[in-house]
């Protein structure tokens, strides 16, 4: 009896510790960010000047960098991940080839992000630089300045696009498998082709689940630090175009936190972290909420 109670209390303690952890992180962020929030107010979000020398801090370049890389990555990866999900969820559900594909997708999720950054540096950066050299005259003729750095928003988006494939692909595949068999049979019995069944029965039915998977991918892209830091060029300015080097919220923190000498610089980096935390939390909540609702219905 006593051991029983002890055991239960231990479990409870562990659960509280985990919950408390999140709470402490949030409080720390708010507390650490408060000098900046008091000093700059909400203008911190709108200002595009980030200059540690003059103690001017605005988060807009990083907000822009994070949103640009994440959404571009999403746009680049969706055609691939959704095709993969439809293939594995409908056309190729069983068999060795299906297992190979599933394992490979899972493997992408298992690759440490520093390896992706490394791959980006070694492989993508030279390729992007080549492309930029080639595009430079074209850009000039329409007034867009393209510098062949190789690093920048586009390169970071490409790396992110590959990294987030497994999130969407795995979740979308699972919700596609939830589409009831009798609905598909009905559609096939009316002479629908595979394509028609996928387009007008399966995908509409799984739509909200696919959307949730996309949101979770987005959450991953927004928060990704290491790989992005390695290939984005780390420039504290609003990126002028996709080829320009920039910084994301995550990458500026990783770059500058250890070297922040003034209190307001440090606090501003924490404030950037707070913004990032809020954005990813909201997106993750929406995603998990939709998935939960879907699963209950099914």
């Amino acid at each position: 009896m006593r051991r029983e109670r002890l055991f239960r209390n231990l479990l409870r303690l562990a659960a509280w510790l985990v919950g408390l952890n999140v709470l402490v992180i949030s409080i720390t962020l708010f507390w650490g960010a408060s000098p900046t929030l008091r000093h700059f107010g909400l203008g911190f979000l709108w200002s595009s000047h980030w200059n540690p020398v003059t103690d001017e801090f605005g988060a807009l370049p990083f907000l822009a960098g994070t949103l640009a890389t994440s959404f571009l990555a999403l746009a680049l990866s969706l055609p691939l991940s959704l095709s993969m999900a439809i293939l594995l969820g409908e056309f190729l559900r069983v068999g060795w080839l299906s297992n190979v594909f599933k394992s490979l997708v899972d493997l992408i999720a298992a690759v440490p992000s520093v390896i992706f950054g490394y791959w980006g540096l070694m492989v993508l950066v030279p390729l992007v630089r080549e492309a930029e050299m080639w595009l430079m005259p074209l850009g000039q003729s329409v007034g867009i300045e393209i510098m062949p750095y190789g690093v920048g928003v586009l390169t970071a988006s490409l790396v992110l696009a590959v990294m987030i494939i497994p999130n969407t692909a795995a979740i979308a595949r699972e919700v596609l498998e939830l589409v009831p068999r009798d609905l598909k049979e009905a559609a096939y019995s009316f002479g629908a082709t595979r394509y028609e069944v996928v387009r007008s029965v399966i995908v509409p039915y799984a739509r909200s689940g696919i959307f949730a998977g996309i949101l979770l991918s987005l959450g991953r892209a927004l928060g990704e630090t290491m790989a992005v830091t390695m290939v984005i060029g780390n420039t504290n300015e609003m990126p002028a175009n996709l080829f320009a080097p920039a910084n994301t919220m995550a990458s500026v923190i990783a770059n500058e936190l250890a070297e922040a000498t003034t209190a307001i610089h440090y606090s501003s980096l924490v404030a950037v972290g707070l913004v990032l935390f809020l954005v990813t939390t909201v997106i993750n909540f929406i995603g998990t909420y939709i998935i939960k609702k879907m699963t209950v219905q099914a």
């Binding site: 409908e90 056309f91 559900r93 069983v94 699972e174 919700v175 498998e177 939830l178 589409v179 009831p180 068999r181 009798d182 609905l183 598909k184 049979e185 009905a186 559609a187 096939y188 019995s189 009316f190 002479g191 629908a192 082709t193 595979r194 028609e196 007008s200 029965v201 509409p204 039915y205 699963t295 099914a298």
Partner: protein, 279 residues
């Protein structure tokens, strides 16, 4: 998450090439035969679910297929529009003719075939769309060029559902009762303007009143369609069908006019089944 078993779009079930009767003889179809099988079998892996069945389904009549669970009646029904193509390991042998066309022959396109054969399933399975879009679904994907609204109304009227739903065509089909959903599924199948309607135990999920509705409906439908009805309810077969086929363990035991099957069947096993001695 629960994953349901899905129809696996497998390789099409092709008839095993039979001996050198290279060009199947232009089937000596009885004038009124709509679907005919000749020594037709369906195997799941090595197990024959339908075993050498030779059966003629006349046009414009209701043919009921009865028999105990697992006797192969649903498999035979689903063989007619090649729905077994989606079952892994299923394969057909022998011949099945639809309007003189060899359904398992190399020239049959199952997608084309299914467009001419409507199907109603055991469990009402409307799409999670509006009532209107459910009925309009098949005509739309099949490129119907006429007046879609008129077709939807006509189909719903034929399915005896129009008066109940005419004011809420844009509401979700899932809000309808089970019996209404099943009539909607019939309307959806009719809207495709098929000439054969396959019904796979269409009342097994319905209450007696809804069942009576569907049975009335089948009675009216046979003036325009050839109906093949699989049922485990013998009274139902007796009430609505013109001809009844009794299957047992994958084999066709007996087929005849319904009143003969139910009053003086030839085969003692039929006799035993319809009198409830087994099954």
């Amino acid at each position: 998450m629960v994953t349901t078993a899905m129809p696996q779009p497998v390789r099409p079930v092709r008839r095993e090439q039979q001996a050198p009767a290279a060009n199947p003889p232009a089937a000596p179809l009885p004038e009124t035969a709509h679907v005919r099988t000749d020594n037709f079998s369906v195997y799941y892996h090595d197990h024959p679910a339908v075993n050498r069945v030779t059966l003629t389904i006349p046009a414009g009549k209701v043919t009921a297929i009865i028999g105990p669970s697992g006797c192969g009646k649903s498999t035979l029904l689903r063989a007619i529009n090649r729905m077994n193509d989606f079952v892994p390991g299923a394969r057909a042998e022998g011949q099945l003719w639809y309007c003189g066309q060899d359904v398992y022959g190399p020239n049959c396109d199952p997608v084309e075939l299914r467009r001419r054969i409507g199907m109603v399933f055991q469990k009402p399975n409307p799409f999670p769309k509006s009532i209107f879009r459910n009925v309009a679904w098949a005509p739309k994907i099949n490129g119907y060029r006429g007046d879609l609204e008129e077709l939807v109304e006509r189909s719903l009227r034929q399915a005896a559902l129009w008066d109940e739903v005419k004011d809420k065509l844009d509401r979700s089909a899932l809000a309808l009762s089970g019996g209404q959903q099943q009539r909607l599924c019939i309307a959806r199948a009719i809207a495709m303007q098929p000439d054969v309607l396959l019904m796979d135990e269409p009342c097994s999920a319905l209450d007696p009143i809804a069942t009576a509705h569907i049975e009335d409906l089948i009675d009216q439908l046979k003036t325009q369609y050839t109906v093949v009805l699989v049922t485990h309810n013998m009274q139902q077969a007796g009430r609505v069908s013109d001809r009844t086929a009794f299957m047992y363990l994958g084999e066709l035991v007996e087929v005849d006019a319904t009143d003969i099957i139910f009053t003086r069947p030839n085969n003692p096993r039929t006799q035993d089944y319809i009198t409830g001695r087994f099954g």
